[in-house]
Amino acid sequence: MDPEDLRYTKEHEWVRVEGDTGTIGITFHAQKELGDIVYVDLPKPGTLLQQHKTIGSVESVKAVSDIYTPVSGEVVEVNGSLAESPEILNTDPYGSGWLVKIRLSEPGEAGKLLTAAEYHAFVGTESS
């Protein structure tokens, strides 16, 4: 279920690295825990992000969850359709529900994050 080509964090974010760009999002597990997502707060293009720091939040009706960036760099693009339709985070968290694209400043970071298998195992231990 969690795509093999992505890297994951224990805070339930993922990153897809293509060249010097990383696309980040939240995992299937994260959106399921939150329930129906109603609002996403994201940084503006140009913002400099530092790995594992909060960059925004996702909200359901009764919960708020901080988003921590899996990688460092500069925001180059923000998923504008989330403002109108936050529900795509529920329906397609690994596809059209991406959050921001980042120009990586530390390209080595992503490789040290969890693989799909490791993340899967982690979610298993967390919920038991």
């Binding site: 109603v38 609002y39 909200e59 359901s60 009706v61 009764k62 936050p86 529900e87």
Partner: protein, 484 residues
């Protein structure tokens, strides 16, 4: 399946703006006994507004029908059990409403000369006295407008005392079971929040606490009984730990309904606490307020209490503003006076013994419910319950909605946050055994339904004018006012 009919106007009442028709009026003013003035002339045309767009134009009958119809869409204590945990939804005696509307109490201006407000002073002084007596404290401020406002006032008092001692410190410890207002108030008072986890008995872990308390800790905010309905049995030890490091013990007294007359926090190490008069002392919740959140303190904190303070001299009562150590004003004027009047009336009706008896009955009702529900529902913590009990069930939200079909208001859902699927039930002392038995029957029957017809429970309520409300849609595309 029978579909509900919503034809009758009482079920389909429009908004005022939709009923409105040009020229309709619902008011009368006496004829003007002075010459009229032309607003544009005396003020300048640029300061005078056009007519208020879309403001209602309705008759007096329209107004009374409108609000009466709306009222029938509400549940209320006067309709039945309202077992919201942590909210203390007890019966609101109507004599309290009557006395609050006494002409000489309702129409007094806060700035009229003190000599013309002696009756009001007497009420405030007596209420301060009895609240100090009930809590075992030395002084009380009646100013805070609600519990959260009392919390902010209280933490500012802590800060002022520590500052006077040379160091306001940095952090306040808040248990993870605390009400959300606690951490929010701490932040507004300029402190950092440190959470402390509860142990497997639902109580503070004193060893973990001892490790956390250092010279940067200003206070702990402890709710007792806590939000699990459990008395913090190590409260004396907790106070000792905090005091040994020069820190204070603040108690959230929202649950005083479990203690009045049987235990006084001021007697065993609590330095200050707030009370919710709209809980323990039965001033009506009014659909969300007004409340009143007096703060009771021990002697060392007294100099810092908000301005102004009551004072008495041979000439009578007056307000004292000459208090150099005070944290200052926390609101304009002197408090939610009308609420304070109601609370004093409640206390007078009970007397000391009556308050104690009410507490015992509140414990009795909660423990009775707990006993009868324990077989069908899992109690979250096995420690003895005080005035409320917390169960857990994965379907707590749906069960709550299904209770509505049985004629009851739901319990508090999903709080405290540390219990997954929390069902927090506080019956209060004003419920009869009959009402409690009906409630137990309802919950037991729903436990059965959850197993046999989960769909029925998931889609509840089925009996109300408005069935399940789409809160997700409301939050995704907020519509916060009517527009044409």
């Amino acid at each position: 399946m029978i579909t509900k009919v919503r034809q009758h106007p009482t079920q389909n009442e429009s908004l005022l703006f939709e009923t409105s028709s040009p020229g309709k009026i619902g008011y009368q003013l006496p004829a003007l006994d002075v010459p009229p003035v032309d607003p544009s002339e005396v003020l300048g045309a640029e300061y005078v507004r056009e007519e208020i767009p879309d403001f209602p134009e309705v008759s007096e009958v329209d107004v009374i029908r409108h609000f009466t119809r709306l009222s029938t869409w509400n549940y209320a204590i006067d309709l039945g059990l309202y077992p919201l945990g942590s909210c203390t939804m007890k019966y609101n005696p109507r004599v309290n409403e009557a006395v609050a509307r006494t002409e000489g109490l309702m129409w007094i201006h806060p700035y009229q000369p003190d000599a013309l407000s002696q009756g009001a002073f007497a009420i405030l002084a007596e209420l301060e006295r009895v609240l100090a007596e009930i809590t075992g404290m030395d002084a009380v401020t009646l100013q805070p407008a609600a519990g959260a406002h009392g919390e902010l006032t209280g933490i500012l008092l802590v800060r002022a005392l520590l500052e006077a001692q040379g160091n306001p410190r940095k952090r306040v410890i808040v248990p993870d079971s605390a009400h959300g207002t606690n951490p929010a108030s701490v932040r507004m008072a300029g402190y950092e929040v440190v959470n402390v986890a509860s142990n497997d008995r639902g109580m503070l872990d004193t060893e973990a606490l001892a490790r956390m308390v250092d010279d940067d800790v200003a206070a702990i905010m402890i709710t007792n009984p806590n939000t699990l309905g459990v008395f913090e049995e190590h409260i004396i030890e907790v106070a000792r730990i905090l005091h040994s490091k020069g820190a204070l013990v603040y108690m959230d007294g929202a649950n005083l309904n479990a203690l009045a007359g049987i235990s006084r926090p001021g007697d065993y190490g609590v330095d200050l606490m707030h009370l919710n008069l709209h809980k323990t002392f039965s001033t009506p919740h009014g659909g969300g307020g007004p409340g009143s959140g007096p703060v009771a303190v021990k002697k060392p904190l007294e100099p810092f209490l908000p301005l102004p303070r009551l004072q008495h001299a041979s000439s009578g009562w007056s307000w004292n503003y000459d208090r150099p150590h005070s944290i200052g004003r926390v609101r304009a004027f002197y408090g939610n006076f009308g609420v304070l009047v109601r609370a004093l009336a409640y206390i007078m009706a009970h007397g000391g013994n009556g308050l104690r008896r009410a507490t015992l009955d509140a414990l009795l009702n909660a423990n009775y419910l707990r006993k009868l529900l324990e077989t069908d529902y899992e109690i979250a913590y096995s420690a003895p319950s005080m005035h409320e009990c917390v169960f857990r069930h994965a379907a707590t939200g749906a069960i709550a909605k299904r209770l509505i079909d049985y004629g009851f208001h739901p319990y508090t859902v999903s709080f405290p946050l540390i219990v997954h699927g929390a069902m927090m039930i506080e019956p209060t002392e004003t419920e009869s055994k009959q009402e409690l038995d009906l409630f137990v029957d309802a919950l037991i029957s729903i436990a059965q339904e959850v197993k046999e017809s989960p769909e029925l429970v998931q889609t509840a309520p089925h009996s109300t004018r408005t069935n399940k409300v789409d809160e997700v849609a409301a939050a995704r595309k907020p519509i916060l006012k009517w527009t044409r």
